[in-house]
Symmetry: C2
Subunit: 256 residues, 2 copies
């Protein structure tokens, strides 16, 4: 039976990254792309509540259908499940290739990974790919070469239920890559996050900018350090974010 593949992203249906990902995935089965009309970077697992969504078919070939949705990446996955796959989960979900890193705490804000999380909740083995560059002319060579190797493994040995994979790939040649490593979500945060400007009427407005502060620069298992050192990083993320040890600790200390 033909493998049914759902592809989405957060940079929008017209982005370079989703086009490259679609080409990588073509040999693996029947492809359905459902991606946002407009860029939706930083949308996390946000859903559209309070305004309606549109779904538009852009291409319909035998093994490649492309739809655009007006919502967020997670909306796209929900729309695909409810209105295209009629609630029969596809075999895999592949999200990306994102233009820009989704390592460390960026994984929290990532629409690419919000979509992968959404697929995981439906029971679909899900994986997100990100390139460590926002440059539209960035080098996708390593992403294409190692992307296929990673997809081969992902299909043969998917993550356990309720876990999705987050792959970050340096924007370079395949020769420059030192290796592919499973790793953990690194610790970090953004600082100096807004640029203040004055509008023509003298009032302030703020653009989000920011610099990344690396909290654990020495940790060789942290994804953001690995990609800086030209490794490809793969982090398994959980849907269940409960800290079970903290339940026990606080149960003993709180007076309830």
């Amino acid at each position: 039976m033909t493998r049914r593949i759902l592809i989405t992203n957060d940079d929008g249906v017209k982005s370079i990254g989703i086009g490259i990902l679609t080409e990588i995935m073509r040999p693996y089965g029947q492809i359905t792309v459902v991606a946002p009309f407009e860029p939706q970077s930083g949308m996390s697992a946000a859903l559209t509540i309070g305004k309606p969504l549109r779904l538009t078919e852009l291409k319909s070939e035998k093994n490649l259908k492309i739809y655009a949705c007006t919502g967020t990446p997670a909306d796209c996955v929900k729309m695909a499940m409810n209105k295209i796959f009629n609630n029969k989960a596809p075999d895999i979900l592949v999200s990306g290739i994102n233009h820009g890193a989704n390592a460390s705490v960026a994984s929290l804000y990532s629409g690419t990974l919000g979509a992968a999380a959404e697929g995981t909740i439906y029971g679909i083995p899900s994986i997100g790919f990100s390139l460590i560059s926002h440059d539209p002319k960035a080098n996708f060579e390593a992403a294409i070469h190692f992307g296929k190797i990673i997809v081969d493994n992902f299909i043969k040995t998917p993550p356990k239920p309720d876990i999705y994979l987050n792959v970050n790939i340096p924007a370079t040649t395949k020769e420059e890559i030192k290796g592919v490593k499973f790793s953990k979500q690194g610790r970090g945060q953004w600082i100096n996050e807004f640029e203040e400007r004055k509008d023509p009427y003298g009032s302030s407005y703020y653009w989000m900018t920011g610099e990344f502060l690396n909290i654990e620069p020495q940790n060789k298992l942290a994804d953001h350090n690995l990609v800086s050192d030209n490794y490809i990083s793969i982090v398994p993320h959980k849907i269940d974010t409960t800290d079970y040890q903290e339940i026990t600790r606080l149960e003993e200390l709180w007076k309830l």
Copy 2:
């Protein structure tokens, strides 16, 4: 030294829930509210990228300052840190009281908890409160009574770094509450998620709706089951969502 308290939410600065939370918090210190102008339910940890933000002061009393921000709940926390607290983290962050449950996978989509996660990344002890009802006339009695007890404990014994608390409270009287329990994020998903309509020109559009499917109705530690049974649930959630066991398992099985 006076305790500095940041309050935010995802229902917007004018919601009933944030007004009640502000009154609960008044005895604990100096309050700064920074909340969205408009409702931002379902926004998860989304950030506003690609359009600028505005910040407006609505009230400035000695111990109560209120600001509205045009962005998401996570944007509000970033704006508070960068532009109001000048990067000196407040002592605690309290988010809510949300109108509607944030138990089970709803915690993934919740803007209330997106703000709490953002506070946690800055190192601020953070907690989110949600009421199990969307009705604007819902009963906040238990939320007010037990909210104070929970805040007392939270201030004395905050969660460990990189962990935030998610409190869900039934919309009822304090007598009806069977107890307060630490619990885990329950497993579930939404189904039948869109209502399709036709616009006046004959084209389809979709409203997000949906029914909750309870995957583990027998699990007495699951937060969504506890609140259905009139318990108050407190789940400790982690910022680091890495599954460390899965790293080891996939390292052995994948051919990399």
